[in-house]
Amino acid sequence: MIAALDTIVTGLRRRYRAVRTSRALAAFFANPLNVAGLAIVVTLSIAAVLGPVAAPYDPASQDLANRLQPPTLAHPMGTDQLGRDVFSRLLYGARLSFGIAVAVTAIRLVLGTAIGLLAGYAGGWVDEFLMRLVDIQLAFPGLVLALVVAGILGPSLRNVMLALAVVGWASYARLVRGSVLSTKEREFVKAARLMGVSRIRIAVRHLLPNVVGPVIVLATMNLGTVILGTAGLSFIGLGAQPPTPEWGTMLSAGRHHLRGAWWLANAPGAAIMLTVFGFNLLGDGLRDVLDPNHDTTLEKPT
């Protein structure tokens, strides 16, 4: 697994070098949507990292006398039903949402890639078995399985992460296996076999780097999905425990005030949407650059 990760990293590095010098980077930046996506994600990442420092208030400090205040200069996004500063809570929530998204996606990615690689390369009954596992996972609607898992383990963010990780690896496994199967049939892999290159080396050197691109694209999109999933589970009541400023929980609690104190639900709602939107834009952009099958930047002259 470490070796695989290492390959991803070196693959990325080499890829980066290739990208930096190539036309792909220019193509990426030529599309304003890609730039917007990158900007959103970078801004939110900064907010997530620096948020707790920059937040004007403690996200948990209550001020019952000043509850449900509409947005003012002191409280740019107003206060909630317990008089807490919504803006500060959003900033802290950004860290949570990002942290969960990254952690869950990382688990999914590593697990799914390893399984997909193994299945695609080993073939035979190993493939059959692993793919049935994938089918089983896919046959559970993701949220339903997460619900069962989180319901059983009890509500907490850690369990939500676990549940979401457990339900999300299959798409990576499928993707990687598919890429591996098609890459495996390509002649350079046959050539490597005929040159006596070891199986592990073929897997790591030849197969993995060629599936990294689509995997990264999927992972980027997935970050958004995980944020939505976390919010969804929190909505049902399986997520963060109060007073944790998790976006989904905030939205769900704020919904009771949607008519009177509109900022309570709409601020986290917009934050979730913007974040997911940013990741999706970025994913789209990365797809153009990293996923050779979706080469939309170049026209074929003849």
């Binding site: 609607p141 339903v144 069962v148």
Partner: protein
Amino acid sequence: MIGYDYLASRLATSLAVTFGVSVVTYGLIFLTPGDPAEIILSQQLDRQPSAAEIEAFRAEHGLNDPVPVQYLNWLTDVFRGDLGTSYYSDMPVSTLIIEVVPFTLELALAAMLVALVISIPAGVVSAVNRGSPIDHASQLGALLGVSMPNFWLAYLLILLFPLTLGVLPVAGAGSVGHLVLPAITLGSGMAAVVTRLVRSSMLEVLDEAYVDTARAKGLRERIVVYKHALRNALVPVVTILGLQLGTLLNGAVVVEIIFQRPGLGSLLVDAVFERNYPVVQAVTLVTAIVFVATNLLVDLTYRYLDPRVQLGGETA
């Protein structure tokens, strides 16, 4: 000559998958801390049950056997068409499920309809006018649709339609009116996904040589696009529709709660929360079967949409 073998092997894997799903659920349930008998009874009676009551409950629901035996018993019952009995009422689980399935089904179909009605024209127009303002608008709209948490959308819809405009009911089920908002909530996210897919699939197909062949015949562009290109572009879309069923069921959980609709989703959520394991077990099984069957159906639809796909061949 085609088909039987393929069908048999597909059915076999489908069975294996369904079986796997049931094993996983059963396993998960028995990892859960706490004695279901005690929890259920105290819930049900609103007080602490007596030891005799617990024993009776355990005996009644076969909870005294070792877990594998319980599982086998459950499995044999399932093969006999008996999905068990709810821990809370003596209602057969199958009755509970049959009662709510139409609601989830109508919701899923309506959402699918909403999604297709929006996404196919949007995707096609977007692809045909690639790079135009229409394309940008539809792409942006689709992205926003994918990014919107559906429960937020639901509240905004309720705020807008019944509360502000005074049309359509807030919650409940049973009429077309009740179906509109949930279907939009559920369908819009899917519409977004499918729009993007239709667009990229159309773009790919529009680059294909046979589209030029069709143009070179002197066919009108409309016919080229909607007959020659769209039919091919729909092939990958159908697969995703099958897989999207899962997403629909996910969404149904949330939508059913917000709109106070009976359905598989809310049945399951309640059952999970109440530790009504026979119901959890049965609903996951039914969901898995529906999912697996749908995807089997999708595979078969392939043959109609894309004659190149031999039923015996690789479909991956």
